[in-house]
């Protein structure tokens, strides 16, 4: 079981909030001692998911957590929106799938940049996406 050592929640209501989320995730990743490449990957993944929450979910919230299990410590970032949800998750996770103005790399690309990726979406209710990057100690 993972224990939460620290957490913080922020809102995503405009595109400048995505910039703030990037900075917040960067600060946490630095304080946890992630390498520059690891920092860049989780910040980029968070940027993609924050934009998804804003563009498709009409905004939402982001929760940052430092988690610890028996072996290692990780940074988990969760995006929650109350938007229309994703009817076909399998399709949405494919490269190049897009209903919006993007490249369709948001979900599939973010997934490749982290160690763990969880998505839960209910049509009409909203979407929750979590990403985790582990740091070996």
């Amino acid at each position: 079981m993972a224990v939460i050592l620290k957490d913080e929640t922020a809102w995503i209501k405009s595109s400048s909030d995505i910039v703030k989320v990037r900075q917040l995730v960067r600060d946490w990743a630095i304080s946890m001692g992630f390498s520059l490449v690891e920092q860049t990957k989780i910040v980029t993944a968070a940027s993609e998911l924050g934009r998804n929450a804003l563009d498709y979910g009409g905004g939402g919230e982001v929760r940052l957590e430092v988690i610890q299990n028996e072996l290692r410590r990780g940074l988990k970032v969760t995006f929650v929106d109350q938007g229309p949800g994703i009817p076909d998750l399998e399709q949405a996770l494919k490269d190049g799938f897009s209903t919006g103005t993007g490249m369709g790399l948001g979900l599939s690309g973010a997934k490749r940049l982290v160690n763990e990726f969880e998505i839960d979406s209910t049509p009409g209710r909203g979407t929750e996406v979590s990403i985790t990057r582990w740091r070996n100690t």
Binding site: L36, K41, T44, M103
Partner: protein, 129 residues
Amino acid sequence: MERIPILKMGELLLVTIQVDMHDQLAITLQDDLTQQIVKHRAHGVLIDISSLEIVDSFIGRMIGNIAAMARMLDAETVLVGMKPAVAITLVELGMSLAGVRTALNVEKGMAMLQNSLKGKETFGRNTQG
């Protein structure tokens, strides 16, 4: 309104992105650059991203768009100064920025653009004669 400055140097336009851009700022830059290319009859655009800590799919797409639009307006784009961590992340994200010329730094990017401008002049003279 917040804007990224565009500098004119002879036939070239120079853009140094020094802030973590929000999406609207990236779109404004794309629009401003295409207008400046036509206004100044620029044949080259140099975009310096050495201060950028991340390039996500939105900013990547904006860079690709700028290069494609500039090409249609008879201008070449060279992207310079990408950090190694940004390059690694972009490729894993699934964006290789195909179609965008790159150089390691401003100096090399400038040389690249000036070379292609020279090529254009020679070609112009030969075909006129």
